[in-house]
Amino acid sequence: MMNLHAVRAIFRFEMARTWRTLMQSVISPVISTSLYFIVFGAAIGARIPEVEGVSYGAFIVPGLIMLSLLTQSISNASFGIYFPKFSGTIYELLSAPVSTPEIVLSYVGAAATKSIMLGLIILVTSGLFVPLRVAHPLWMLLFLVLTSVTFSLVGFIIGIWADGFEKLQVVPLLIITPLTFLGGSFYSIAMLPPFWQQVALFNPVVYLISGFRWSFYDIADVSLGVSLGMTLVFLAVALVIVAWIFRTGYRLKA
């Protein structure tokens, strides 16, 4: 039997936080995406030829959405669980009759919901700058949801691991952002020299962006099956780590 009241309470609480911090949660990613379009899409992109039959401005849309999805999922979910630890209000969560899956479902669910909403907002915003086309809408949504959930889980793990605000920043800044930029947000892996193409395959973000871009334009760096498979592997790894954290009480309980 599930404590649905608790799941609902946490979910609502987390969503309320979004509305309270609307500026930070929704508006700022929209603004930064628009800036990317102005800089990369219009200013530089005008000098870049089409990539595999797609105008450069349109080509970067999936990568830009992924970039926001990854960073926002992580920052939302990590902050959502880190802040109660920091302020001490976590005592209530730990003393409540809620199970691990319920806690994860509600925190990660709320963070992922925000990311999905954000991804769709950016998609619509992009439509204002470049002509958009989504070849496989359902696949697009599937990748959107899987990526949001996976990286919200990653954020959740970071939030539990972090014991200071710096640590909260360090993983997104030093790992996620570089991986996303190098993962083909702004270019096709095929444009790289052969050696770097091989190196790029070790970057998990390549698979996410490739699959996502395929759902838009039918062009991909790796096959759809591999993209989907890898995305599911990341999800599974994140779930295993979360399960371990709660079984051991790692950094949650003394």
Binding site: N3, E92, A254
Partner: protein, 311 residues
């Protein structure tokens, strides 16, 4: 009387290697007010945190109304409300939302009427739409109580409920705690104010260095360990205790104007009457006398200091 919490052989060693609880055995009776007394760092919060699920025990077991706190945590935790020692709240939430949140978290369907009753009882009703950050310390403390009571728990833990609370509010809180007890809630509180335990508790436990060194009915404790002191104000100061009275264990005050006799209240033949007769026979006259009974505070201090001398 029925036990509602039973703790057996509970120990806690923190990751630092510090042993905060050592083989604690304790049972809490249903419907009582139990006060846990002990100096800073004794292990009071650790004990409460384990029962509530915030800290993992290193060994031993705890059941709450028959439910093991680890195997059957859902059942045990839904019975418990906790007011922690630290005032930690979501600063930007409103009073109403945070209390509603707590109720949901503990698995209860929304019940605005109950929450209204709670907020009114704690004089927070007119603050219900305020953000928590705008409340005073005492109001926050009451808000924590409202949160803890939001899901109508049968057991309430109050970890130093009256720390930093003014005298009037403290009286109000005591009344609230008594009302709760009268409505059938079992209350476990920790405090540094002995006065508080003396005023409220049915039973008292004393913990120091992670060991529960005593658990006793309050009245019994006062009776057993209470010392009484008879002080005689002499008409003429004495330079020393008269030899025929030395065996009585009398002491003289510094200036010799008071003769002090200390005895156990338990002692059936303390012989106050005898003593007075002997004094008269020795030609010692007094103009006044007074008696004092030691308070729980004295008992506590002597227990804890006796303990640390030993160890």
């Amino acid at each position: 009387m029925q036990d509602v919490i039973s703790i057996s052989n509970l120990s806690k060693t923190y990751a630092s290697g510090f042993s905060a609880l050592k083989n604690v055995d304790l049972t809490i009776h249903r419907g009582e007010i139990f006060a846990l007394l002990g100096p800073n760092g004794a292990g009071k919060t650790t004990l409460i945190s384990i029962v509530c699920g915030i800290v993992n025990p290193s060994s031993g077991s705890v059941t709450v109304d028959g439910h093991d706190i680890q195997r059957d945590y859902r059942a045990s935790r839904s019975l418990i409300g906790l007011v922690p020692q630290e005032l930690s709240t979501d600063a930007f939430e409103s009073v109403w939302n945070t209390v509603t949140f707590s109720r949901g978290l503990f698995g209860k369907a929304a019940n605005p009427a109950h929450i209204e009753k709670m907020l009114r009882a704690l004089s927070l009703w007119d603050k219900k739409d305020n953000r928590i950050i705008t409340l005073s310390g005492g109001m926050k403390r009451r808000l924590m109580i409202a949160k803890a009571l939001s899901h109508e728990p049968q057991i309430l833990f109050l970890d130093e409920p009256t720390a930093g609370v003014d005298v009037e509010l403290r009286r109000d809180m005591w009344q609230l705690v008594r009302d709760l007890r009268d409505s059938g809630v079992t209350i476990i509180l920790t405090t540094h104010y002995i006065e508080e335990a003396e005023e409220m508790a049915d039973r008292i436990g004393v913990i120091t260095h992670g060991e529960l060194i005593l658990v006793e009915e309050k009245c019994e404790l006062m009776r057993k360990l209470g010392k009484k002191q008879l002080t005689l104000l002499l008409q003429q100061p004495l330079s020393h205790v008269p030899t025929e009275l030395v065996s009585r264990g009398l002491t003289l005050s510094g200036d010799g104007s008071e003769l002090i006799y200390t005895y156990d209240t338990q002692d059936a033949d303390a012989g106050v009457a005898e003593l007075l007769k002997e004094l008269a026979a020795a030609g010692i006259h007094y103009k006044d006398l007074r008696t004092e009974q030691s308070s729980l505070e004295d008992i506590f201090v002597s227990l804890v200091s006796g303990r640390s001398k030993k160890s």
